[in-house]
Amino acid sequence: MIVLPLMIVPALFLTVAPWLKTAIGGGMTSLIAAGLAMSVMAYSLYLSFRAQHCLDEVQLAGGQFAARWGMGIGAVAFAMLSMLPPFWDFAAALLRDAADDSGASRRIIILAVMFGFGGVVILQTIGMFVAKLMWWRARR
């Protein structure tokens, strides 16, 4: 329940963003997006600290194992995915859909970088989750 804002706020913003752009302009929409992004990040950090505070030493060891190996697993997964042509077809299609004609080249570069960064972060998170699962499975 407490993690719901992390999903609801971005989803809500993405839903109303096109309307906001026409109503208050792109600049203000970007400012609101930045503010919301910082709020969501701050809230997720707060949740992370709160969760870590309640962990015992076995859970902390599991978390450390996941952090140590998950990052590597995520990075390798991204490198392997980037060797597959369908992955780039998907990325190109996504960028083509997201970018419009005005200032497209700059936007495409920014989106490409953001997509790459986002992809690595998401895969690293999944990697950490998998590593943690493995750690706990080995100790069952």
Partner: protein, 63 residues
């Protein structure tokens, strides 16, 4: 390091969850310690021994 947590738990008729609550850790953590998959720190080992009202060497044994 071996331990006698399972035996001591059986003597007291405690579940892993009950011991976990007394010691202040999760049930999964007790399970990992009990099955020799994780070696607890000295403070946690003492807390586990205290929960059984036993000496630490009665709960944790050398290999």
């Amino acid at each position: 390091m071996k331990n006698r947590i399972r035996v001591l738990r059986a003597e007291k008729n405690w579940s892993q969850a009950e011991l976990a609550e007394k010691v202040g850790v999760s049930r999964n953590s007790i399970n990992a310690i009990e099955n020799d998959k994780f070696e607890p720190s000295l403070p946690l080992a003492f807390r586990i021994a205290d929960a059984f009202a036993a000496r630490i060497e009665e709960v944790f044994l050398r290999d």
